[in-house]
Each structure stands twice: as structure tokens, then as C-alpha cells.
Amino acid sequence: MSPPSHFDFIEARDKFTVATKNAVDTRNCKPLTTAFSHLPGNETEKKATLDQALRGVLEEQIVNQKVNVDDFLSLIYISIDGVTEGICSATTPFLLLGDVLDCLPLDQCDKIFSFVEENVSTWKSNTFYSAGKNYLLRMCNDLLRRLSKSQNTVFCGRIQLFLARLFPLSEKSGLNLQSQFNLDNITVFNKNEQDSTLGQQHTEVKEEGMDVEEGEMGDEDAPAPSSIPIDYNLYRKFWTLQDYFRNPVQCYDKFSWMTFIKYSDEALAVFKSFKLDDMQASKKKLEEMRTSSGDHVYFAKFLTSEKLMDLQLSDSNFRRHILLQYLILFQYLKGQVKFKSSSCVLNDDQSLWIEDTTKLVYQLLKEIPPDGDKFGSMVEHILNTEENWNSWKNEGCPSFVKERPAETKPIRPSRKRQAPEDFLGKGPDRKILMGNDELTRLWNLNPDNMEACKSENREFMPSLEDFFEEAIEQADPANMVEDEYKVVRNSNYGWRALRLLSRRSPHFFQPTNQQFKSLADYLENMVIKLAKELPKDIPSEEIKTGEEDDDENGDNLLKDSNDSPSIQSKAVTNSQMDEIAAKLGSQWKTLADHLEMSDKEIRVIESDSEDVDLQAKMLLVAWQDREGSQATMESLVTALNAAGFNNIADNLSET
């Protein structure tokens, strides 16, 4: 960077540095503003230099080490003031924060983070939000990476809470959009007998005894090898189950499902037989336990030593965890998840088993003391609400903020209390107020429902005369209409005619000894009978043409519904999307332009996944979300053709 001749960068920076130190000492941003206004040069140059100076001062502070947290914070405060004054760029406070957090040990980070938490409102203000949200997110993620998930649970939780407060509810960046599983969460246990810790301990104890502590070999205080019998059979099966909870998609594989069922049945049988009792602990003791250990029981990770198995089985909280895992798994397996591939469907046996086992699990949950009943119903409730989230996600995570309708009516000053006669419809205009204009209108169409149903315009059945006019005319030999052109030959007309006859004409139910070969013959006969009864006023030509039109319409309708619906008008299915996505691969962006995706949406898709196939799939899903029922194969094929993917489009229309 080469500063222009009239603006000396080095000099300006030094001046700012001095001013900054001054400002930190007085805890006031005044010196900076004065320095800023006194310096020559244009705004952007000065801003950049000031940013640089602030970072320089911070670096010095950090290197100095004896500076305490408050000094960092006051520097950051000054930078915030600077931003509001317009003398440094909006990203500076975030850069400073990031620098501080990167360089400090965790306990001091805690204090800095309290400051970050206190200033949520600042970060959310217009000046800072757009500039800083990415910095803050990155900063939080960096911190989370440094923290231990099992040790610093509180701090981790604070960071998550902060993020939740910072970002609006509709922010999708933190959302597991594609419902992926955390596959890294592998529960390690001893799968084969050689690795058993029990066996190892034996040898270790022996070796120690022999090599190291020769003198004490005979001593009784040598640790006795594990003192409880271990049910390895159950142990292995029990912990194998965790793998299914980790990656539920395995359940759709036939063989792993069989093992899953087998092992689950055994594990649950143990739970069923091994009842926990609450009776030994008296109430007083229980209360003591509650107050001393707190109500929280949290397993960061299951401990899987064989020796713990027995204790774990008698631990009610452990048991609840496992049973809850079952319920969560079942919920996933049964539920509709958009990103489940189309092959992931349960067969009848599986669903039946799941249903039975769910019942069993709930029963077991309710048996676990203390407060099993309460826990069970609570879990049921929570899982039900989970369904709502699921469907929200399936709908493409619509925003929670309801759009206000465009034409907002001025709010009428409402009366304090509704007059009862208004409500009961006994008001002056006998109008019943339904609380909503449209409802009120509909409700007051006619005060008497029976009357409304009887009204003329509810009558949809045509009269005999109207309907058969044309047929009667054609039946008249004088008109010389050839048989094949008669309306009675039309099966559609014939069917409607029969229905009408059954409702309106006494002739329909009269026994007759005549035999009719076809419906047309029968109708012909009926038409002649009707013609005799009806008053003779020959209809005009115009009406006739009208009738014909109607008939044609009817025909078309019938044709449409008879034909198998072509692929073009169908909605795009999940499997089709998979297929297209696989073919598109890295070229999805070309299609994106033709699907009228905005640049922003494309960027979101890009940032959500590395995998091009997934990106392509997400593009299609986003398009489907946007278009709703308009997302038909037809429009997709058009877009594909326009984007030059004729081969993909052709393949699709063939299938």
C-alpha cells in the first residue's frame, strides 16, 4: 500500500496510536476524534489507518501481558465508540475481539465473553449486525473448538445461547438443514474378547507383581482382579446398539435390522426383568441426594467398561437415557424426513415391531423410579412437539415472522363490551357478528339454514325438459338425424340421462317387458315417451348449439380424466430430484440461473455443503420449496432444456 504524498501513513498511524493510548487511559474516545479531524487525507484512508492503530495497540497490550482484562475491554469500547462516531470501520471491534480471544487463556476468555454477552443489543444494532455477524460466528466457533465438550459444558452452553440471541430465529446457518447425523460419535467398547480390560488387568497385575514389586509380592494388598462376574454376552449386544442410535440409516438395511431387533429384544428383556426399586432410599435420603448432587445428570459420553455394566443397569438415569434413545430412533424411522432417501421405507413387519417396542419402552420408562410416570408423559410430549419441528423443516424452514397483509385496515376503536343482542343476532339488523368480516358475511347470507338450502340457486339438477330437449328433437324422425350422431349414443350423455331419469321420471321404475339391447336403445325409447308427455314447444336453434358446446366440454373433461396423467404435470418426486442432482453435479449453477434462483440463495447453498451432488439436490429442493405446487416436471424440464441439459430432460421424459 503506498499512501499518497499528502497522507503519510506511518505518521498518521503513530499519531493515532498515541491518541488511542490516551483514550484508553481516560476511557474516552475524545482524543481519537480530535486526532482524526486534525489529520489531513480522505476518510477511508484515515479509517484504515485508525483500524491499524487500534489493532497495534491491542497487540502491544497482549504482548505486555500484565495488562488485565478491563484494559482490553476499554479498548474495545473505544473502538465501538469510534464506529458510532464514524471514524473507524464497523468490523474493527470484532477484529479486536477475535484477536483478544485468540490470544488469551480460557479463564480470561470467559470474562471477555461475558462482555460480548452483555452487548448483544449493540451487536444487533444496524451499524454492527451485518458487518459483524460473520466475525462473531467465527469467533464463537473458534472458542467452541477450543473448549472441551465434556468439561466446559457451561461455557459451551453460554456460547450457544449467545448465538441464539444474536441471530434471528429464521437464520439457517446453524441449522442441520439436511438432517445429517453426527457420525463421529462412536461409542467404543470391547468388541472382542482379547481386548477385554479384564484380561489386560490380569496380566498387568501379574507383571507388576513379578517385575517391580518383588518384595511385596506376597502382600495381600495387591489389587484383586475384578471382583464381579461380567455378562459379556449382554455387554457386547448392549453397546452394539449404540451404533444404530448413532447412524439410524443402518436400520433400513435388512441384515443390520435383524441384528438390531435381536439385540434390542434382549436388552429390553433385561430392563423388563430387572426392576429398579425406589423403596430402599427413604424420602429424606432422596432429598439429601437431590440437594447435594443437583437434579442434573448429564452423560457427555457413555462409559463402556465391562465392570460398570452392572451398576449402569441399576442406574435409573442411565436406563432413561437408553430408552429415550430408542424413542428418538423410532421417531426418526417412522417420521417423514425430506432428506431421507427414497429407499428408506419401513415394511409392515418393521413398523409393527416399532409400534410394539415403543409401547414397551414407554411402559418401562413409566416404571423407572422416581417419578417415572411424569417422565414418561413429559418425553411423550416433547417428542410430539419435535414432530412440529420436523414438519417445519420439511416445509423448507419457513420464516416464523408472519407477513403482515398488504392492505392494513385502520383499526376501529373497539367497544369495551359486546352488546348481547348483537351477539345473538337480535340487533337492529339481526346480524350475527362472527368476529371476522368474511365469516359474518357468510353467516348472514340467510338467517335460516333450511331456507338457504331450499333456495332456487341451490338446485343443480336440470329439469327433464331442459336436459332432454336436444334428444327429443333428434328423436323426431322429421329432423332426420342419423343414429350415430344422436346424443343418446354418447355414453357420457347416457349416464347422466339415466341418473336424471331415476330422480325425475316415473318411467324409470315402471316395469316393462321390452328388452333393450343397448343403453342407447333404451334412452331412445324413453325420450319418445317423454316427448309425448312434455308440452310441445319446439326449442329454438340457439339453445341447441349451446347444449352441444356443453357436451363437448363434458367430453373433454372425461378424456382428461381417463388418460393416464402424463409425467409432465406431476410434481417432481424426491427420487427424481436425486437422479437429476446426480446428473447435474458441478454444473448445477447453470441450472440455477434458469430456475431464477437469486445469487444469495446460490451462495447459501454453496456454503451449506461441499459436495456438489448435495448442492445440486439442495438447489432443486429450494426451487421446489419456492414453487410449491407449481414445481412440476414440466417446468423443470423446460428449465433443463433452456440451460442446455437436453439429455437430462430427455431421459426424464422417457421414464
Binding site: 462376574p229 426383568s273 426399586d277 452392572d310
Partner: protein, 323 residues
């Protein structure tokens, strides 16, 4: 052994070896099977390790009682008692160390032996069975020293109270008799079926299980399983178990009991049934706790099946040994 024999097999008695690593079980065919618990409980256990390591015919009639001393396994058959050295058994040799017969009044009938216990104080073996009498054998010499007479029907079960040196016996006549082992005289007689709270006339009056723990006694059979306070000679709690109980053991604050029905009942001292743990035989005769060896601390139950269920944790069946 054919499938029919397996189908009709009943396991009547069990005993753990003094080291706690082996389990001996006797069935209705007079056979004794020795299982290796350490093999069956090891991590690399297979089907084979659930089979006996040794299976031999010990007596002509059913083996109703098995007992382990410090070095020997005692088995009771029809009228005779045999001893087998555990050291020899483990080496798979099946030669009896000795066989003794109590002095029966008549030589015409051979009464079965239903129960044996050891009086560790005097190193006596106490034997009870079909001749209504209790015989006391000196383990040192192998001679029968005395006979306790009093029961009017055959004896089902025996128990020994070490502190007081008292022998308890329960029999088909419905009485629990308490004997002083020093004087060999009867001290008390409780006729359980006469107490209304535990009487169940529909099942009979016989007493088939007895267990004692300091001042407390558990007894059951035809009458309901009940916990008795021996000083006051009164039942303190009666357990609402449906079938007749064959064996009951008190362990820590639990009472485990087996009998009719395919489950082990866990009872609390207060008189409530805490749990009934399912197991494979349809009815159970014997329950044993291995407390000698902490590494193999298990509970085993056997009954009208060739399978013996092993519980590592008392609350669920871990595996089944099988004849």
C-alpha cells in the same frame, strides 16, 4: 443322553465347589454334572462352555441333596451318602471317596435322603429324609452317632443355627422342629399350618424350605412363605407368592425364593414382592448363591428342566448351563 431324558429331567440339587469356580448339580436320574463357572462367565464363552465338564452317575435314585465341604462333594442318593473329592472331580476321575448309610430301623425299605447340612462346630453331618428321623454322622470317623426322632412324616429340609447350635428341620407333617445339637433333644415345635396368616389348606401343610439368619427364620411350602421371629415364635411377615416355595435364601436385604412358576421372586423383609425374574425352567427346585468367590459371584437356579439358569446380576438371567 437322549432328547426324551432331557425333556423329563429335573434338577434337584446344586452345590458350588469350595473354590467357587465349579458348580455341581444333581438330577432325577442320579447323575451329577460339574460345570466350570469360570469358563461360562469368561468373555470368550461359547456354547461348549455351558455344557458340563464332567457328567457321571452317582446314585441309583435321584440326587436330592448335594453339599460341599472344604475338600469333598457330598451327594445323597437313595438311602446312602457318597463323598467325592473335588480335586479328583476336577481331574475328571469319578471314584467315590466313601459311601455311608445311616442306621435305618428296618432293612426292608430304603428311605430317600432329602437334606444334608454340616454342623461346623462339631464337624458333624446332619442328614434328614424319608424315615422321619434326623441322623447325625461324625465326619471324622464316619460313624453315625445319634438319631433325633420326633417328626411324624418325612423330612424335607434342614437348617443349622450356628450361634445357638440349634438344628431346624421341616417336614411333610407341617412342623418345624428345633433341636439342641448338644443335647440332641427337641427344643421347640412350630406347626406353621396352624397360624391363620400363613395357612393354605388347599396346598397342604408340608414345609419344604427353611432358612435361618440369627433370630429370623424363613419357612414355606404348603403354607405361604413367611418370615418368623424365633424369639417370639411368631410370623412377622407373610409373602404373597402364589405357588408353593421350594427354596428360599436371604441375601443382604433381599429374600430370594423359588418354587412353582418360572421365576425367581425377590421379596423385601416387609412382606412385599419386589420383582419376579423370569427364567427358563417352568418350575424351580433349587437356588444357590456362590458367595465363596467374588469373581464368580452368581446365583444359579434349577428345576424341571435340563437347564440351570445363571444370574450374574440377580435381576436378569444371563445364561443357562445345560446338562
Amino acid at each position: 443322553m437322549g432328547p426324551v431324558e432331557l425333556l423329563h429331567m429335573s434338577v434337584f440339587s446344586q452345590s458350588f465347589s469350595p473354590c467357587g469356580r465349579y458348580l455341581a448339580a444333581g438330577n432325577n436320574y442320579g447323575e451329577i454334572a460339574v460345570f466350570s463357572l469360570s469358563a461360562a462367565l469368561s468373555p470368550d464363552a461359547s456354547e461348549r462352555s455351558q455344557k458340563p465338564i464332567l457328567n457321571f452317575t452317582a446314585h441309583d435314585g435321584p440326587v436330592f441333596s448335594l453339599l460341599s465341604t472344604e475338600s469333598h462333594l457330598l451327594s445323597a442318593g437313595n438311602g446312602e451318602i457318597s463323598a467325592w473329592s473335588w480335586a479328583e472331580l476336577i481331574k475328571k476321575s469319578t471314584k467315590a471317596a466313601w459311601t455311608r448309610k445311616p442306621n435305618y430301623e428296618t432293612s426292608l425299605e430304603i428311605p430317600e435322603i432329602n437334606a444334608m447340612i454340616i454342623n461346623p462346630k462339631d464337624n458333624n453331618l446332619i442328614v434328614g429324609g424319608g424315615d422321619n428321623n434326623i441322623h447325625i454322622m461324625d465326619m471324622e470317623t464316619g460313624t453315625f452317632k445319634s438319631v433325633l426322632k420326633g417328626h411324624t412324616d418325612y423330612i424335607h429340609c434342614l437348617s443349622f443355627k450356628e450361634r445357638e447350635g440349634e438344628i431346624l428341620s421341616g417336614g411333610e407333617d407341617g412342623a418345624v422342629r428345633i433341636w439342641d445339637s448338644r443335647t440332641n433333644r427337641p427344643v421347640h415345635c412350630i406347626e406353621v399350618f396352624k397360624y391363620e396368616e400363613c395357612a393354605r389348606p388347599q396346598f397342604g401343610k408340608w414345609i419344604s424350605c427353611l432358612a435361618t439368619d440369627s433370630d429370623w427364620m424363613l419357612c414355606g411350602g404348603g403354607p405361604s412363605l413367611s418370615l418368623w421371629h424365633l424369639r417370639s415364635m411368631s410370623p412377622t411377615s407373610v409373602f404373597p407368592l402364589s405357588g408353593c416355595q421350594r427354596e428360599a435364601v436371604s441375601y443382604q436385604d433381599l429374600i430370594m425364593s423359588v418354587g412353582e412358576g418360572p421365576y425367581v421372586s425377590h421379596c423385601l423383609h416387609g412382606g412385599t414382592v419386589k420383582a419376579q425374574i423370569p427364567c427358563s425352567p417352568s418350575s424351580l427346585n433349587t437356588l444357590a448363591l456362590n458367595l465363596k468367590n467374588t469373581e464368580h459371584r452368581v446365583m444359579t437356579v434349577g428345576g424341571s428342566s435340563h437347564q440351570i439358569d445363571v444370574f450374574t446380576n440377580f435381576s436378569y438371567r444371563a445364561l443357562s448351563l445345560s446338562f
